[in-house]
Subunit: 437 residues, 4 copies
Amino acid sequence: MTENNTETPEDIAAVPDHSDVAIFGERESEVRSYSRNWPEVFDTAKGVRITTESGEQYLDFFGGAGALNYGHNDDDMKAALLEHIERDGITHSLDKFTVAKRRFLQSFSDKILEPRGLDYKVMFPGPTGTNAVESALKLARKVTGREAILNFTNSFHGMTLGSLSVTGNSMKRAGAGIPLVHATPMPYDNYFGGITEDFQWMERVLEDSGSGINRPAAVIVECVQGEGGINAARAEWLKALSELCKRQDILLIIDDVQMGCGRTGEFFSFEFAGIKPDIVTLSKSIGGYGLPLAVTLFRKDLDVWAAGEHNGTFRGNNLAFATAAVAIEKYWSDDKLQNHTLENGKWLREFFGKLVEKHPEELELRGRGMAFGIAFLKRPELAEEALAECFNRKLLVETAGPNDEVIKFLAPLVITRDELEEGSKICAEVIDELLSK
Amino acid sequence: MTENNTETPEDIAAVPDHSDVAIFGERESEVRSYSRNWPEVFDTAKGVRITTESGEQYLDFFGGAGALNYGHNDDDMKAALLEHIERDGITHSLDKFTVAKRRFLQSFSDKILEPRGLDYKVMFPGPTGTNAVESALKLARKVTGREAILNFTNSFHGMTLGSLSVTGNSMKRAGAGIPLVHATPMPYDNYFGGITEDFQWMERVLEDSGSGINRPAAVIVECVQGEGGINAARAEWLKALSELCKRQDILLIIDDVQMGCGRTGEFFSFEFAGIKPDIVTLSKSIGGYGLPLAVTLFRKDLDVWAAGEHNGTFRGNNLAFATAAVAIEKYWSDDKLQNHTLENGKWLREFFGKLVEKHPEELELRGRGMAFGIAFLKRPELAEEALAECFNRKLLVETAGPNDEVIKFLAPLVITRDELEEGSKICAEVIDELLSK
Amino acid sequence: MTENNTETPEDIAAVPDHSDVAIFGERESEVRSYSRNWPEVFDTAKGVRITTESGEQYLDFFGGAGALNYGHNDDDMKAALLEHIERDGITHSLDKFTVAKRRFLQSFSDKILEPRGLDYKVMFPGPTGTNAVESALKLARKVTGREAILNFTNSFHGMTLGSLSVTGNSMKRAGAGIPLVHATPMPYDNYFGGITEDFQWMERVLEDSGSGINRPAAVIVECVQGEGGINAARAEWLKALSELCKRQDILLIIDDVQMGCGRTGEFFSFEFAGIKPDIVTLSKSIGGYGLPLAVTLFRKDLDVWAAGEHNGTFRGNNLAFATAAVAIEKYWSDDKLQNHTLENGKWLREFFGKLVEKHPEELELRGRGMAFGIAFLKRPELAEEALAECFNRKLLVETAGPNDEVIKFLAPLVITRDELEEGSKICAEVIDELLSK
Amino acid sequence: MTENNTETPEDIAAVPDHSDVAIFGERESEVRSYSRNWPEVFDTAKGVRITTESGEQYLDFFGGAGALNYGHNDDDMKAALLEHIERDGITHSLDKFTVAKRRFLQSFSDKILEPRGLDYKVMFPGPTGTNAVESALKLARKVTGREAILNFTNSFHGMTLGSLSVTGNSMKRAGAGIPLVHATPMPYDNYFGGITEDFQWMERVLEDSGSGINRPAAVIVECVQGEGGINAARAEWLKALSELCKRQDILLIIDDVQMGCGRTGEFFSFEFAGIKPDIVTLSKSIGGYGLPLAVTLFRKDLDVWAAGEHNGTFRGNNLAFATAAVAIEKYWSDDKLQNHTLENGKWLREFFGKLVEKHPEELELRGRGMAFGIAFLKRPELAEEALAECFNRKLLVETAGPNDEVIKFLAPLVITRDELEEGSKICAEVIDELLSK
């Protein structure tokens, strides 16, 4: 299941009858999506496991679509959260200065930005990824005085109009109800299956004054495309992209909403390529505990905003500041989590590598670090079947890709090797059975 | 202060030296706004008061720009929140079924929708007002197959591209960096000062096939314009608008993000006019405790969404569901809060009415219920001066209107009469002194 | 008949059988329009009369929709044309310097621009009105750096995308196949029937920074709206519009494609108001003989074009230059034609005034000079019936207005009083009979 | 010189002093282009030669940018034109049926459409190429209900907003003053110098639902790109494009405004590829004598226009109908002109082939038939120098290409071999001298 599917499974009917779900059927819009394939009522969660109200426990390799890199309800963040609430720490503050925001900013500066030599300003654009993307696009347009944006095939950046216009998925684009303009998609790394140099087209049209491409303000790119099918760009491709942008005086925006916060190993997904983007968006796991928060980062000289030129009621979510500070201090004061992620990622590739050896024409592994995908090359429909069967065996995984042909793991990074093996075995068995039918 | 001002006061320099604010100056983007006029570091809050880290207490008539109708850190919601967290209630769930969401839906259905005869579906579009507006516009376009939207002079609907395109403020619009199209503004009620029939233009262009107006999918309107200057539409105007929409087969969207949840007395700001909009957006105070949440409501027959056609990572914010359910059950099981609001609103108009009698050519009262404004008719710049002086006297109020000429009260609805008097006296004295200089 | 009607009369079947029209039915697109209501095959023409191939003669009060102000095949222009062709004068020259262009420019400068104190540059944008409008909009946007344009209800400016976006007619707009954006219609003079001040809305939204109107580059307006129903703006309204534009630093474009070249008496339709627009478009009768030609005029300081930034293959139509020069020299060296037009216009109003006196609730006279309209106030469908019956009686007239409710005369200005009486009597009788049924 | 150059040579100052050119300097807009490099006042023309007012004769290999395929002032067309004018044949008729239009339609049907098995409807969209393109785009959007268009790198389709949006040249696009949207450029044949399969990108993005390309209504393409640098697409590429369009249910529009009417040998430039486009645009040489005329052709089942949905004052230019009929009857009743063109084209390639052999790294030949280009591969600036020196030696040639690096021949097709040799020798000598400096 990605959220692209338009069929409407009888999600309500499928809920076991120990749960009262009438109100969902009666009141919740048909736009609901995950409940359709996982028709249970969830109640509590801890680490990599979530539990339904009837006590069924599921292993969660879905990870809040990237929002739960530190797992569900981390105890240290929980303690900080409870302490903040108990002492009546201010909850809602718009963009006033608060003690909680200061601690977050200080930790983020000390542990994340400075060690990486990133002299960014931090903007709180409203607490969702799409808000961060909208603010990034606005800023790039303001700085350059240009309107056009280059995006990439199979990109995903969000559902509000600005973000949607740089998103690839045709079903989601159609939802806009107006023609989405100002963005031109370029081929992502390996779009032609390695046969040709994917960069050729992009370089050529930017250098040719007759190409018909409106001169862009910025390029927006994910270092690993999550929704697009766990497509990982190579370091050399990203480096070449960064250099092309510099040469052409175009701003480079890395959308790290899903792939940042350690998903690929390092905190930012672009670090491995040795590049410094002009603008970076973060959300999902930045709050640490699954609470809404987003930040937009940019070079100090790009900070040309007028006061209040972009705002939002919930841009200062102090509960999220409280847990975000703990997340950074706990997990990013050393390189343990980073190494753990890289080792787990390596293990995953080795483990599923055997399955690929068994079905070399059917399967392909995708991704980087703990952004991991298993693509069904010949029978894309099996991915959805695998998802459903994994659910039956108490494992949550999602699908991705333009044809929902990729099983996507975004398991919490804090997962133990045992838990990782547990879920991986389930998934591998399911796939093997499906392919062996 | 509205968030429109482009001057950059030395907010950092103005912070009293008992606070360490270096990190804000170093790292936070120049887009920050409220901190400029209220240069203090806030720490805790309760009811209508917030306290800085050095122990200074402020009376909060700003109310989180409408997100704190129930005051800061309400004890019953706090208890529910702590209980949810302590027992490891699931925090982040996207749109899975959860126990917390079920309780919210049930309460919202029982206490809000059913008693008002509103047979709406409920959509969780992402936890911000602008997300709700974007989803409303998408749905209206999908249902009708048309692109154009009618909005109103001095409207405010949010900062992402779709919402911004239906927003009036020229500074915020310019921030888009692209021409904002597809929306045509119509004159809001009383736009011409009562001299002419404001509806004439809108009716005429819709009926004239040669008017050049693209046939609209929907009209989007606030019953009281908050950012626009606390402009309250009359019941008869709203009723006529609703009828015009029906006659012309255009959907009516009420944006109740700021004016809903009891701000004008009744739960929805449109109830007093006896109309039933096709689509309604809610956010800000719907979470109860100042936590990010938004809902989009619409007639059941308009629920034509494909599964996942609009989504968002934080659309299931269970902490907010927990507090939102308490807010509804506590405050909307009877009409006490509603009556309290209407009485306080009446008191405000009587109290400030005396000030207007003293300065009849300088001042004008605006608004409805506890959406209250005092407009400076001749010397708009005094509003900002009053705001600054109120801050000196430990009262937070905001300004609004195209020229920041209106002092805006969005005090928590749970304010006591004594608290209301306390703050109103400060404000009245400040205004009187300024006008008497 | 305007060209708005979507019904498809059997135009081919209606052609008298002395004519061979099979090829039209077989090959010509259904987009054809005038042939539907005037199903004859025309062959020759002179002055105000055109003759079919079978020798039927029609009195032409339609005047090529404004392209034949000097009548069909004027003898002096014909002589110049023949002489140019016989001596192999260059026909096609793009924008090279030619002897024929020089003569046109000199005559236009000496007889038209200088006597009126209009220090304009002359641009040849391609030989059609819509090309002139497109170039005017481009120039206004280039000069101001803004995108938005204000147009007026029931305006008509052409069929290419730029011109269509500032045109009011909904059927023609729908033909674009994309949402037409960047233009906002304002109420034309007398749009509300004189009850209210039509200017109020426009002035207010331009002065209000919160109105939601994108700051416009220019206002484009016809002094008399032809297609829109022969609506004539008053001098004081045009003067106020001109002053508003100056005050707001917005360029004023007068589209004089149909109403220029003496149609309202003076050469330009704006002269009577004592204003000097920033940009003026001319086409239709500027070529004199019905040959394609267009010019765009603008203040010298606005001539910021790069060489070739707007071009077109037929922008130097030397046959049209040859006839245009004769037209100007013959008809605009003195005020005879102007006076003739004003007197004929006066006579028309007196003559049809009697018909209005007889049917005061049914009819209304419209227009200025020889732009003349008779509106059917209560039974708009009678205008089309009148047109058809006039055709039966050998008179060509057109209809106009959003509901095709206005009979429109654009008779050649060179018409004699006798010819004017002849056609007017036919038309008056037809109307009287229809209203008296 | 293409029309892209932004420098402003002192064209007026350069005119020899036997001519009076003051009025051009005083009144004609700076947008003028060709007069800058050819600062003479032209008076008469015949065949392939034009003569200035002082009697200087130039050999014209520029051919009215494609509008003079039959040369200047062809005697048979001249006779028909004079006869039409002398007998007062109707000149201006909008889209009424006329004798002259019937003859044109009949000849076009008999000599052009039927022999080629093209069952097209014929539309008269206004007498310029850009008008034909605008009508083609409208129709494609109406038929498909989609907005997006695919165009190609270095395309040129016209200067009105719709046509400009599918044009590649960045200087001309910037002239729009608004962001040009709805079109996405694809790589033209051989865009990558033959290294990679240019079709790969286009096929892939159309087939990938996640590519981010809005599903297009149509593809618009020139079989040889004139302004873009005389780039000729291969037959197999065009065939593949046609098949891709069919497979993807996208309409194929061939813009034959410049390359039609025999320029490449056959009447239509697409015939050699054995394809039948859905829509075709023609203008420039279709009128025969250099008079403004344009037609849009389309499959009969696409004729969904409402009457008058696209119109234009000069869409019935009877003088052009008269000459166009003669042109078709004289030149397209047999294959003499076609063969002459192909043979001359072959000769040109042989003749200049020797020059390329002498300077193999500097020069490249381009084009097909009598669309002929000589590209300066290493020193693009020499093309402009060659143009100027050719002018000194009494030969008119133009430059083309994104960097004006291509000398472009669009000599009249009726040119004799002697004339062709005469001009070619001048040009070859000039180039050789420049390269040998």
